[in-house]
Symmetry: C2
Subunit: 461 residues, 2 copies
């Protein structure tokens, strides 16, 4: 009792086209995520500046940087307004409300917006000198961490391999830049107190390590263009001067007095490097937008091509031959063990070059290629997350610093001839019993690629 | 220049709710996938029956099973109609056309529909005895493989941990049942020819291995209820009789004549087992629907709870205190290294039990928990895929059978004290250069969880 053929054949076509449209929709969402990442990158940069300026304002009891601070608050407001405009346009407008969004991304946005809502209050506390420079810095860091988590989620839910790589590269670069900002802040605190004690030396060294690891991840996922630009930043005079100054600071003995002018040089060099990083960030963001929009355009053109092909087939008298191509295609495995020697010869004349079957085949191949590439990218990400989680467990259990926990895993990996991710998994397996008890509060100092999720996660753990 | 507070606070709320709604949408899509898997499970079962009946019809030159075949074609048509109705309702109705769908799932549906469209032609070839029993079996197997790939894709794109586990369990169980069906078919071919040669013995043994491995995966992901039911199937008289008969067949020498009545016993026992498997499949499908619908209901009730909480906060004079909770929350890491000894004391009165911040925190925790669980499930899936791909490379390169390729990897894993998935990855790394050249045609005999993707993928490779 076969169903009506012309009707049924239509279904397969509809689903072929629906699949392509689903890809276009997903890529359009991805363009939205990329726009979001771009806007967040600018807002974070402005907040990092306000953080630094506010510190100097607080430390100088309001004598310095009062005007700059007001100007920078205006810059932040402008960036924040752009961020909110984009959010309204992309995610809250009624015409788009039906379009699919990702829960994790939306929730990280809610978290960031809530932090931004409290910024006005924080500023009032700064105005009234009701917070210390350290407290203010801490608050800005939390706000920025929330915003970075938006970029992290955007990268984590992206489903195009190249865009995912670029987003992961951008996220890790932003993370490295934030660690640079925190290094600048601790340096400033040291200079303000005119001494660098052991703890401060250790923190600076660790923040430099954190930057290095984030930059390694950036390098793993970035394209050649970005890498070349980054090497140029590293090779410029300011970066080399900063590197030298780091050495000078590291050589200072506990409590050794420091010339005031070094403080200014420190701030200027660190700022020059951070600004150079921001320019590279902008270039990456621009490329991200370009690549993601290009993906949409390519996919739309493929859809157009599908339509044209289907029309052409119909106009040239194609109804729905070539009969049985799919069911007798010897390239598609059928009965297990019906290997070539027992294989049926395909009925003749089935392989017209432009059948519906060919279109479906080509789309299957396209999906297969994209999925495989994406899986490889994701695997690298997943392994990184695993290493971060295992590090957190070691830090908690053995009361190690982040750096020591990392080195312990590295040593063990070399001894056991395993990958770092495998050592991490063993630790996670052993540690999984203990987890539920302490519920994640422990990974506090975790600070590389997963930091943002851990942070966001901790807010509710 | 802080922006207007009442406005901004509203944004965070909106995104909190949008995130929950996004989760509900995703879960509703998942219900759709589960309904689809259920319908496919029924259609596959009917096609498996038609495959068996058509063989007997062909082998007997139309003297046997002519009426049964017409009846079974009607059963298939009814199942196919239900499948197409669901597809139209879920995926092609204009009111839903905006709702997000997954490209891979839609494309696997297009592929299956195209196969179903050719079924009428295949039946005409059977009517006219223009195909052999082996060719017909092969064609039915391809059609069924396409339909199984729909269930595989549904499992692969699911984003709820429990539903994913159930879908993976169902897929592997369906896969095992299909291998049982193929084993029954090869057995029937052996009996029809009145001899079991070496090749046939080998195929039967391999199909039994394939069933075992699919059932292992089923057991890894299934719940206790399903496992208990499966053990009951395995322990019943028919299963034990079938197991004995397998032994008898395996003991037959090449060309040794077989009593005709054994053929009937074989068919009946194999069919009894397959029917028992189908009943368990039905039970799993029912549970899948129940669990996925329950998820939607839970999520909707959480959304209602969010609304009620927000209303209550507003009515009790809550505007947007507690100020600075998020920016001064000591549980959220801020500045790197500002560990407890330098940690600011949170400003007092910030932790009202029911603030917007608490709602965001609880949602963050929920997402964190779900993501982590899902990642663990996915990891098991990903590792399986890697093993399958590596097996394909070994089969191609060393010209091994599937079974031997698998054993080679197992031995190597034991020797190197590595996990099977790690050995697979090493093979993939070495083999990645060679891949593009032969382009996947090789994994032809691949036969466990990834088989369906490989098959679908191959159609276009």
């Amino acid at each position: 009792m076969p169903t009506d053929m012309s009707l049924t054949s239509d279904d397969a076509e509809k689903f072929l086209l629906a699949a392509k449209r689903a890809e276009i929709q997903a890529l359009e969402r991805l363009v939205g995520s990329c726009e979001l990442a771009t806007t967040v990158s600018d807002l974070v940069h402005q907040l990092q500046r306000e953080r630094g300026i506010s510190n100097i304002y607080l430390v100088s009891a309001g004598f310095r940087f009062s005007g700059q601070r007001q100007q920078q608050i205006r810059n932040c407001a402008a960036s924040e307004a752009a961020f909110r405009r984009l959010l309204h346009h992309r995610y809250l407008q009624s015409t788009r409300s039906d379009s699919p969004q990702n829960m994790r991304l939306l929730n990280s946005i809610a978290y960031s917006l809530h932090g931004l809502d409290e910024l006005a209050n924080l500023r009032r506390h700064v105005d009234a000198f009701e917070v210390s420079a350290l407290e203010s810095t801490d608050a800005f860091c939390r706000l920025i961490a929330g915003l970075l988590s938006v970029v992290f989620e955007a990268a984590d839910v992206a489903d195009d391999p190249e865009v995912t790589r670029l987003l992961v590269a951008l996220f890790n670069f932003m993370q490295a830049k934030e660690f640079s900002g925190q290094e600048r802040a601790w340096g400033a605190i040291g200079f303000a107190g005119s001494r660098f004690d052991e703890k401060l030396h250790e923190r600076l060294a660790q923040l430099q390590d954190c930057q290095r690891r984030s930059l390694e991840l950036f390098a793993e996922f970035a394209g050649e263009t970005e890498l070349a630009r980054w090497r140029a930043v590293e090779d410029c005079q300011e970066s080399r001067d900063l590197q030298r100054l780091r050495g000078v600071i590291a050589g200072l003995k506990d409590g050794e007095p420091i010339a005031a002018e070094i403080s200014e040089v420190w701030y200027e060099l660190a700022t020059a490097r951070i600004d150079a990083m921001h320019r590279l960030e902008d270039a990456m963001a621009a490329r991200l937008l370009q690549v993601s929009r290009q993906r949409v355009a390519e996919s739309q053109s493929e859809l157009g091509h599908h339509y044209a092909q289907l029309q052409r087939m119909k106009s040239t008298g194609w109804t729905r031959p070539p009969a049985l191509a799919v069911l007798f295609d010897p390239e598609v495995p059928g009965l297990y063990g019906s290997t070539p020697d027992t294989m049926v010869t395909p009925l003749p004349g089935q392989h017209l070059a432009h059948s519906l079957y060919d279109l479906i085949r080509s789309q299957v191949a396209h999906i297969h290629r994209v999925s495989e590439e994406l899986e490889q990218t994701r695997r690298a990400l997943t392994e990184r997350k695993r290493v971060e989680r295992a590090k957190g467990i070691l830090m908690r259990r053995l009361r190690l610093t982040e750096e020591d926990a990392y080195r312990t895993m590295q040593t063990r990996a070399m001894e056991m001839n395993l990958k770092l991710a495998d050592v991490a998994e063993k630790i996670l397996q052993i540690g999984s019993g203990e987890r539920s008890a302490s519920d994640g509060v422990s990974d506090s100092a975790s600070s590389t690629s997963e930091k943002q999720t851990v942070e966001a996660g901790k807010a509710g753990a």
